[in-house]
């Protein structure tokens, strides 16, 4: 019976050169997974494209309204819904939302509030029009239809 000879030439210590990298990777993993976004968008967002874009000058004056088909169709159905912050709301709640957003601003800037509408391309105009009527009632008259720059085809 042959006896296994122990190879004494191989070193037995584990290489530790990669250890800092592993630590770094862990650190980064936790840094990345820490939630920094304030809202989790729960509706489909395929933003339409357009050419004539204006840039918002004061970002602090902007509030966002998301409209689209819910991502979780089995839970919320496939009808387009309005999302604000982290919840779905109905049209009637918009006035309240606008007022809370206005309260965050200085008194002189309240009329300047801009509502950025992030709307999915597949949404029909009916719901958008309802939202706009509510915004008019809430006296938030500046609207920005969020779009992506379309590169001219030619």
């Amino acid at each position: 019976m042959p006896k296994f000879k122990k190879n004494s030439k191989t070193s037995e210590d584990i290489p530790t050169a990669a250890l800092p990298d592993i630590i770094f990777m862990l650190l980064f993993f936790f840094m990345v997974t820490t939630v920094m976004r304030e809202t989790d968008i729960m509706v489909k967002q395929k933003i339409p494209r357009a050419t004539q874009l204006t840039k918002i000058e004061r970002k602090s004056l902007v509030s966002y309204i998301y409209v689209g088909e819910p991502k979780n169709v089995s839970l919320y159905g496939s009808e387009p819904k309005i999302q604000i912050n982290d919840v779905f709301i109905t049209e009637e709640d918009i006035i309240g939302f606008v007022n809370t957003e206005k309260d965050k601003l200085d008194e002189v800037e309240r009329d300047q509030i801009t509502m950025s509408m992030k709307v999915d391309v597949d949404v029909k105009m009916g719901i958008i029009s309802d939202v706009q009527q509510e915004l008019r009632k809430a006296n938030a008259l500046k609207i920005l239809y969020s779009t992506i720059k379309r590169v001219a085809e030619k």
Binding site: A17, A50, Q52, L53, T54, V121, K124, L141, L144, T147
Partner: protein, 211 residues
């Protein structure tokens, strides 16, 4: 004892590349490209019940009507429209720069136009059946959609209408539309240019509530 000759322990730099990579990936993941651009629109104030509804009669020739139905079909000036959004933009532009029956204000605007645009007016405009001049209430672009119109088409038409106006403004001051859109209004020289382009020609876009 030769202290200076002592060899310093080397810091291994083999993992530097990895660290850099990780940093890169970190920033790639956390950076979200802010999309704060879009088409700005000002809604009309809510109707005041105490105020009487003013009934201003505007002749049909001064209104450019665009209708969209639930099937995303377009009716432009009473006729079905099949062309692209670019064609629509050109039609709107021709409508704005028609100068069919200009008022004194309109004549003044016409005289202030650069020769290129005067040529455009004389080649395409001067139609007595179309808008009088681009001043207030003399040329209005009206757009009405249905509740079933897709948002995509709505934005497309809004874009075309704005593009027509921006083109007019831009060529008035002799710059391209791209340059016009990137004018920085906090800069006094560019603001002056902006005001010069827009003076006398209001962006008369009327958007009716869908029914």
């Amino acid at each position: 004892m030769p202290r200076g000759k002592k060899k310093l322990p080397e810091v291994s730099s083999g993992s530097m590349a990895d660290i850099a990579f990780l940093l890169l990936i970190f920033f790639l993941v956390t950076t979200t490209i802010a999309n704060d651009k879009g088409i700005l629109l000002r809604l009309p104030p809510p109707p005041d019940p105490l105020q009487e509804q003013l009934d201003i009669k505007i002749p049909d020739r001064n209104i450019f009507t665009i209708l969209a139905n639930s099937k995303d079909q377009l009716l432009v000036e009473g006729e079905p429209f099949e062309g692209s959004m670019d064609d629509l933009k050109n039609d709107v532009k021709k409508f704005i720069l028609n100068f069919g029956k200009p008022t004194p204000d309109g004549i003044e605007i016409y005289n202030s136009l650069p020769p290129q645009m005067k040529a455009f007016v004389n080649a395409n405009g001067r139609n007595p059946e179309s808008s009088d001049d681009p001043t207030s209430l003399k040329s209005i672009v009206s757009f009405k959609s249905a509740r079933g119109t897709s948002y995509d088409l709505y934005v497309g038409i809004l874009d075309a209408m704005n593009a027509a106006y921006n083109e007019v403004y831009a060529s008035r001051v002799g710059i391209t539309t791209e340059e016009w859109l990137s004018l920085d209004r906090s800069n006094s020289m560019q603001k002056e240019m902006y005001n010069r382009g827009r003076s006398g020609i209001p962006r008369a876009i009327s958007i009716a509530e869908p029914d």
